[in-house]
Symmetry: C2
């Protein structure tokens, strides 16, 4: 695949930015990749790893002459970062982001975007429980989805270029409006994370069940929750604060449903439980057929698993 | 390792029994392994696979002359199976089980155990989301824990032999009283499963979020829940009905905690969220250090993940 942008600037150098740099390099999608991170330690590590072509000391320096600038910082920091770089953006450049919530990011960033710069929000639906400049890898976006979430009128040419970049990094691309995006993500990501954090917190709290027991006996289900609950705290704090309405709505649906199952347990309604547990099997099959998860038992963690 | 029992009978031929047969054979721990399953299709598949040495047409035939009989059926079926085989158990034999709940199994099975037979309940903390006679593998118990949960006075010799068998099948062995077992498992397994089932059910219910979206965008967290929610419905119905008290107690703690976080989201208390999400990271580290999960990102599902 050939070059799509002459110069790309990544603001923030964590898991997503690092993976983008490696994925762009894998296919030669960018001429030069610059990068900036607020933390000096992160900039140093990124420079040592050669994660990007040039690590800059300021965000304004990084975005100089860039054709594409991607904000890869926690959702709560997007507005301030956009305000800082706005005067330094090149005329005709595209400004994008990778935030997990879109309505709030648009509200925070859009007012700072200068005339002649194309602001095209996006969200790659990929990640791991790891964070920081050493956690990225070129394959992160392969066969995952990237949602482009335009803020009203958008240049079709600029949008098509961004779409080509994400395709080139291995992703499938779809388009969605901000409110629907935030609701879908509340279901598929935000509420699952909150629930996992809660379950791990409960286990940690129970004095009668010592840490060692919870740890040693975690292979019975609990350990799956601890992976998600090991995700970056700053990122997730910002997600919940900025997708409040959709999260609370889906949480309401979740507790309603949980109480129904709780009542079935209390009253001993085995049929209701059985029917419910049968129905949920289907959706797993769909996910495996769509290539979004492995069919190997225990996610393939067991070597000999069938 | 040398032979521990001359003849072992497995009643039920699903994931756990199949894995036990393969794990015993791996080290030559049993002279002959017989097996029985209620379903003719299961018996046929097990016979074709050569899962055990001899598949029997009745449970009474399978337990004839067995030194160890292991009940590997759903918790709700244990009592009836025990009643059926009781007259056919050999004097001096050990009767054990692999049920995920212990108080209820003891209550259902103990009254049927003839004099001279050692009843020693146990629970291997291992499994996958797969079920049936083709789902077993010899490595399932490697470095997992098996809890022996004696019902009052127990022959030390018989208990030691059962312990040796589980060690030989690759497991670590610990001992616990039934009530504590049921509480610990409610935390590490039963409530996590119920929550996963609920979350998948909610996603399935939401008409505005089509199945395709939930499926395609599941890599953002949701897919982890679908694995657990693909577990055997009969087994899990029985677990919840027979560990009602501990499940409801831990569910109560869970919803209390969830409401606290929900309130923090509603009031915008970022510090509380951040602190909570930081604390839960620790417990994951403990699980990885204890060898109970992989440190690879996304459970190692991504080939190139760091």
């Amino acid at each position: 695949m050939s070059r799509i942008y002459e110069r790309v600037a990544l603001i923030g150098l964590g898991l997503i930015a690092g993976s983008m740099a490696l994925a762009m390099r894998r296919r030669g999608l960018a001429g030069e990749i610059t990068g900036y991170a607020r933390s000096e330690a992160t900039r140093k590590t990124a420079a040592e790893l050669g994660l990007v072509d040039r690590v800059c000391e300021t965000a304004s320096e990084a975005v100089q002459n860039a054709d594409l600038v991607v904000l890869c910082v926690p959702v709560g920091a997007m507005g301030a970062v956009a305000a800082g770089i706005a005067p330094h953006l090149k005329k005709g450049a595209t400004l994008s982001d990778v935030g997990s919530v879109k309505r709030v990011v648009i509200k925070a960033v859009a007012p700072h975007v200068p005339d002649g710069v194309h602001f095209i929000p996006a969200h790659p639906l990929a990640g791991t429980e790891k964070s920081g400049p050493t956690s990225g890898f070129a394959e992160l976006f392969d066969n995952r989805w990237c949602l482009i979430v335009p803020d009203g009128e958008t240049s079709p040419e600029a949008k098509e270029k961004l779409r080509q970049l994400w395709l080139g990094m291995g992703a499938n691309v779809d388009e969605m409006d901000p409110d629907h995006h935030d609701l879908v993500l509340a279901v598929t990501s935000h509420v699952p994370h909150l629930i996992a954090y809660t379950m791990v917190g409960v286990a940690d709290d129970l004095a009668r069940v010592t840490n060692t027991e919870v740890v040693n006996f975690s292979a019975t289900g609990f350990r799956d929750f601890t992976r998600i609950a090991a995700s970056d705290p700053t990122m997730w704090r910002d997600v919940f604060l900025s997708n409040k309405d959709a999260t609370l709505e889906i949480l309401g649906r979740f507790t309603e449903e949980l109480f129904t199952l709780q009542r079935a347990i209390r009253t001993g309604d085995g049929n209701q439980l059985y029917d419910y547990f049968t129905r949920t099997r289907e959706i797993r099959r769909g996910i495996i057929e769509a290539g979004q998860d492995t069919d190997a038992a225990n996610f393939g963690r067991n070597g000999g698993a069938k």
